[in-house]
């Protein structure tokens, strides 16, 4: 906020000739300042709207049951004292670690498979002259945005007949149904933007197609590969629909599914436990995005071409 507000008068002075020093603010400058104040006010509002729910989750997760029971009228915006009881209870009594590990396995393996397969498929679609590549791409995009709920039924029957229900590994295959199309589409577009000469240089330098892909194209398209990986991970990590449809035994639950059963007892809903679990599963995503953002920006500083 300050940089704009400070610079504006100086900039105005250099452009307009002042009649004498210390003249009252012109309308133009007042309006300019009002604009920048308004702009940052709007930014603050947006940030507040976006972050407040998360703050509330964090607040609830750090409250005791007693505080929650007394309601917000008594406690205000911040809890009267902070307690990590909900977190420790999640792990000690509710065995939340198991679904976390299940989620991690499913999301990581699905992501790894997605990145490898989508890279090769995307590259082929971007570079090789394939008959009907346009139609294939259209179909891939369609598949990527196909309503998840519409796929549950068929997939359920398929997994049931194959005897693959209630296990996290078939779940990985189910996630590929929508991570792969989106990642393939994304990577194809990234690869299509990479100058052909770069691979041709690698080919003339003695690389095979696969070496050119691995050693030149993928490193150059790293921002795209990261984006595809993050998207796949988030899709798999956040999924509830497939998990609730295909899993049965609590020991096989993924984290989002486990959260639902977490705070329920016969007499009471433990909001603080639920929110503590929500905070826990949010952390990997937040870290991932922060870390990846830096990688993506770093990857954009290319310099092979003029």
């Amino acid at each position: 906020m300050s940089s704009r507000a400070v610079r504006a008068p100086g900039a105005a002075a250099s452009r307009t000739v002042r009649p004498h020093p210390g003249a009252p603010l012109s309308w133009r400058r007042v309006r300019k300042r009002a604009w920048s104040v308004g702009f940052y006010l709007l930014v603050l509002i947006v940030i507040f709207v976006a972050l407040f729910p998360f703050y509330w989750i964090l607040r609830t997760s750090l409250s005791t049951n007693a505080d929650i029971a007394r309601g917000t009228e008594a406690t205000g915006l911040a809890p009267s004292h902070l307690s990590t009881n909900a977190y420790s209870q999640d792990f000690s009594q509710q065995h939340f670690l198991t679904p976390l590990i299940n989620s991690a396995i499913v999301a990581l393996v699905a992501t790894a498979i997605t990145v490898v397969v989508a890279t090769m498929a995307g590259y082929a679609l971007a570079r090789l002259s394939i008959r009907g590549a346009g139609a294939i791409l259209g179909f891939i995009l369609l598949a990527g945005f196909f309503p998840v709920l519409a796929m549950v039924g068929p997939l359920f029957l398929l997994l049931r007949d194959l005897g693959l229900l209630d296990s996290i590994y078939p779940l990985i295959l189910a996630y590929l149904v929508y991570t792969l199309p989106i990642a393939t589409w994304l990577l194809r577009n990234f690869f299509a933007q990479i100058p052909r000469e770069l691979e041709e240089a690698a080919l003339v330098d003695g690389a095979t197609r696969l070496q050119a892909l691995r050693k030149v194209v993928v490193p150059v398209a790293l921002p795209g590969v990261f984006t595809a990986a993050i998207l796949s991970f988030i899709l798999a990590w956040n999924d509830f629909t497939f998990a609730v449809s295909f899993l049965e035994t609590p020991g096989n639950f993924t984290a989002p599914l486990a959260i639902v059963n977490l705070g329920q007892s016969q007499f009471q809903v433990f909001y603080n436990r639920i929110d503590a679990a929500v905070v826990i599963i949010t952390i990997p995503i937040a870290l991932l995005v922060l870390f990846a953002q830096r990688r993506i920006v770093a990857g954009l500083t290319a310099g092979s071409f003029r």
């Binding site: 000469e197 330098d205 092979s304």
Partner: protein, 407 residues
């Protein structure tokens, strides 16, 4: 180290556009051959076929003793410098230069030694650990060269490597590339659209137009004895002055508008001028073959042309005199000079303007001024005559040389 043999090579793209037709060229070991022509003439396609980046529709390409038609780029043992350098942005300069060697699984010590050597030749020693993004245009160009020479390949292929540099750097790199090529002594095919690069860098120059080879000769031969109108107009700056002229019935004089020029002895023989008696030809005069008559002296036996001077450009070492005479000039729009293929050549369509421009290159001592009449002494023995229909040069007997062979 090897030769490159291109025999009757054609490239037809889907949709039946013929990018290269029946191209035959021989590049001797260590020779620097320039492929030059206007954009879209097929020179880059030809280069890419040698590299293996483009399939060959017809004909054979040999590198050394091997026919490489069906080989992938990596099996051909050629190095290529791309127009936009195509440096790997994620690798340092050293990694860029050493990439080909590391693919060959050469041991690291050896790679480092050879990269160091190449960097030494190119003056890149202190930049080895930088990324391409941190380099200037000229340095990137050198890295691209380094990537090529470090491999000690059978042949170098260069696709307009200087076109992305500013004018000053281009002049500097021009001589540098020629020097490096001579030093490593590898057969080189260099593609450019710049006729100055073509004239200054190569041992021989192959001029292409619309996929066809027009002429392949040493630069000076190309300049002195162009085989057709296209080559005559393409090579040389300022370009050759080309006018429509009429041959008299005796085959001794040329009429340009109201003025006449005596034909030199060598051209008067029946076998040369015979077919053109009482017909029109295209006459070509290089700007430097038009001297200021006031400086040439009375005694000279040269022809004379008078012109209306429009503009005098003093370049220091010389003056360029732009003038008009009342002969019809062939300009760049003429179909015989244009790059389109398959145009019907009709004599009736030669340049529409009745009085057209020309350029003379005179010494700075010349007193010719704009807005005056000037008389030029024409070096008639260096006149070029061309058939108005085919565009082929009308040559004194024995002056021709078969194209496509080493000079």
């Amino acid at each position: 180290m090897a030769t490159i043999d291109i025999e009757d090579v054609s490239k037809v793209y889907a949709g039946a556009t013929e990018a290269v037709s029946e191209l035959s060229l021989h590049v001797a070991d260590g020779e620097f051959l320039i492929l030059v022509g206007p954009s879209g003439c097929g020179k880059t396609t030809a280069l890419r076929m040698i590299a293996g980046l483009e399939e060959i529709t017809d004909g054979t390409i040999k590198i050394g003793d091997r026919v490489v038609n069906e080989l992938s780029p990596r099996e051909r043992d050629v190095a290529m410098v791309f127009q936009n350098y195509a440096l790997y942005p994620h690798m340092t300069v050293a990694e860029n230069i050493g990439f080909a060697l590391s693919l060959q699984k050469i041991d690291r010590q050896e790679i480092r030694r050879r990269v160091g050597e190449a960097a030494e030749i190119l003056g890149l020693g202190e930049h080895l650990r930088r990324k391409p993004a941190q380099l200037s245009g000229g340095q990137r160009q050198r890295v691209a060269m380094g990537r090529a020479i470090v491999r000690e390949p059978a042949a170098f292929l260069m696709d307009e490597p200087l076109s992305n540099l500013d004018a000053k750097l281009r002049v500097q790199m021009r001589s540098e590339i020629a020097r490096i090529q001579r030093r490593v002594g590898v057969a080189t095919v260099y593609v450019t659209h710049d006729q100055i690069e073509a004239m200054t860098m190569g041992d021989r120059v192959a001029v292409m137009r619309a996929g066809r080879l027009q002429q392949c000769d040493a630069p000076q031969t190309l300049y002195d004895a162009p085989t057709n109108l296209f080559v005559a107009a393409f090579i040389g700056s300022p370009a050759m002055n080309l006018y429509q002229a009429d041959v008299d019935t005796a085959g001794e004089r040329l009429r340009l508008g109201e003025q006449t020029l005596e034909l030199p002895e060598a051209m008067r023989s029946e076998s040369v001028i015979g077919p053109y008696r009482s017909r029109s030809v295209v006459v070509g005069i290089r700007p430097e073959d038009l001297a200021d008559a006031a400086l040439a002296g009375e005694g000279s036996a040269d022809g004379r042309l008078r012109g209306e001077v429009d503009l005098v450009e003093a370049l220091g070492a010389e003056k360029l005199v732009h003038f008009r005479i009342d002969a019809r000039r062939l300009d760049a729009h003429d179909e015989r000079l244009s790059t389109d293929e398959d145009v019907e050549l009709g004599a009736g369509e030669i340049g529409a303007a009745a009085s057209t421009a020309g350029v003379a290159r005179v010494p700075p001592a010349s007193a010719i001024e704009a807005g005056t009449q000037a008389t030029f002494a024409v070096a008639v023995e260096r006149l070029h005559l061309f058939d108005p229909d085919s565009g082929e040069a009308v040559k004194p007997v024995g002056a021709g040389r078969p194209t496509g062979e080493p000079a």
